[in-house]
Amino acid sequence: MKNLAQRVVRPARNLLLLPGLLLPLPALAAGITVSDDDEREVHLEQPAERIVSLAPHVTELLFAIGAGDRVVGATQHSDYPEEAADLPRVGGYSRIDLERVIELEPDLVIAWRSGNSTAQIERLRDLGLTVYVSEPRHFDGVASGMRRMAQLAGTRDDGEAAAAAFLDRMEALRAEYAHRPPVRVFYQVWEQPLMTVNDDHLIAQAIEVCGGENVFGHLNRLVPRMDREAVIDADPEAIIGGGMGEDRPDWVEAWEEWPDLVAVQRDNLFFVPPSLLQRHTPRIAEGTEMMCEMLETTRSRRPD
């Protein structure tokens, strides 16, 4: 429901600007255009100064690329880094409080396609806000997303540096571990129901960097639900648990009830805090490094 002024003035102004677009303009004054992860063009006249983040990982990314001081609001559970916990809240990522978002008068909103409600993202666009949708898949996607967001936030150099550092670290890990003797790994996302990841998932790629083989990588769904028998049948050499919180959950130890499993016999039951692997941020490198060391330990426990 734009008012009359907006309906008339904006098109008129655009019309007046049209001739201006035909002139060669210095790159700095042209505004910023990037594609988001939905392959939609996102355009800003100048770097964003008031950014609202609609997902915890987005908040982390913004701080990582040096734009933390430009973030004026974030969803619940935006807890890293510490300063993020003080940001005004705009609801949960699956249910955003649109009023709070509007109240913050952002010039850029960064959303998360899998976590946010499509309807709400559309609503924000209808209300005239600029929305960038983040949905990173591979490590490259994380790095590329960081670069693009940095352009929008005007912290191009910091973003470039952070992205490069992240990729370098992942490369280093790959160089060290990817060619090592393969370890068959079962990564457990959750207990009830029993959930794991397939090879399209970021976590499976981290396993691959560490020279591991995801025993359920071939399954069709990104986060398949399965039963215990399938795991026993697969008999992985290492079991790595994720979870919800930062503490090691009981269900990692619960595997000890199945002493025939190789992983149990050799005590290859590990836990990586989910925030280091399940969030699409540079901290994946930390999580991956932990995982690589765990897989190395697994190799050391092989009878020779």
Binding site: R95, S117, R221
Partner: protein
């Protein structure tokens, strides 16, 4: 009858206006009354105008229309099935709409397509129930009810299946749709059009419905064309329920308890109960939605939770009163 009508109008019309105003005045962002007034006079700040006119107003209108449709559908269903426990979903309508919507979400379609799919699902359910119940020629309310319950159960099974196999990321959106959610309602005007149209059509039929409530034989003996009227009610109730569910998902309790509460106060004349159900349903859902988005702001609750929280104690109270 006239006295009840005027009394109902005198209470419910102002209450409707107040409910909408409350929805405009309250939200997770506090707007002082002076600024609110400024917005109405066209002089509010851009922020406040956006909040009130672009966010709250369409949402309040959508909630009122959907609540009105559900209240009206509940009253019509209770007359059609001659059963005070009937609600708009008893014939499987919300199940069909839910399956349509969930399948559309699963396919990653836009919200407009999800709404369209919900509407199509509701109509499909109506046709299935109609076809099955009509099977051997004549149907009675009992047969219609049983058929509807079975079809609803079938939809329920499909919903469980869809929830079980959906990617985890889709689940929150699906669950919110199933619980009832006004936040994605966009254009309230079609729903308003349907509501006003059906109320105007239902008003002259009110006395006929009074007679119909006595039983089909008695009604026929008094000159009511029973079959056409019953079909008309069934189709009308289905259409308006489909419209409501498409707007706000499967919000429960409104269609069940609103006609009941009104009957306790205003008696059983459908000429009063039908329009009153529309108004009272609108008031209830608008207030419930306002609570849903402000109670634990910035966290948002689905409105179906609030209507259940309000509805269950009210229903228990009604049962107790009627002993």
């Amino acid at each position: 009858m006239t006295r009840s009508f005027l009394l109902a109008a005198a209470v419910l019309l102002p209450a409707s206006v107040l409910a909408v105003l409350a929805a405009l005045a309250w939200g997770s962002v506090h707007i002082p009354p002076a600024d609110l007034l400024a917005v109405f006079l066209g002089e509010g700040s851009r922020l406040h105008s956006t909040l009130v006119l672009d966010l709250r107003l369409p949402r309040a209108l959508a909630a009122f229309a959907a609540g009105g449709l559900l209240g009206l559908a509940g009253a019509l269903m209770q007359v059609l099935l001659r059963n005070p426990l009937a609600d708009p979903y008893v014939l499987g309508l919300s199940g069909g709409a839910s399956v349509g919507a969930l399948l559309a979400m699963l396919a990653g379609l836009s919200m407009v397509s999800v709404s369209a799919a919900a509407f199509a699902g509701a109509l499909l359910s109506t046709i299935i129930v109609f076809g099955l119940a009509h099977g051997t020629g004549s149907w009675t309310p009992t047969r219609l009810l049983l058929t509807g319950v079975v079809v609803a159960a079938g939809w329920g099974a499909m919903i469980s299946f869809i929830l079980a196999v959906s990617p985890t990321a889709e689940l929150p959106g699906m669950l919110y749709w199933l619980m009832g959610d006004v936040s994605h309602a966009r254009n309230p005007y079609p729903a308003w059009g349907v509501l006003v149209l059906v109320v105007l059509l239902a008003l002259p039929l009110g006395r006929t419905l009074n007679v119909l409530a006595r039983g089909p034989m008695q009604a026929a003996a008094l000159g009511v064309a029973v079959r056409p009227v019953e079909w008309g009610i069934y189709i009308a109730a289905s259409l308006i329920t489909a419209t409501a569910v498409t707007q706000v998902g499967a919000v429960g309790f409104v269609g069940l308890i609103v006609p009941h509460m009104l009957r306790l106060v205003f008696g059983n004349d459908q000429r009063v109960i039908l329009p009153a159900s529309a108004l009272a349903g609108g008031i209830l859902l608008t207030l419930a939605d306002t609570l849903a988005r402000t109670m634990i702001a910035p966290e948002q609750l689905p409105v179906g939770v609030i209507t259940a929280m309000l509805g269950v104690p009210v229903f228990l109270f009604l049962l107790y009163r009627s002993r």
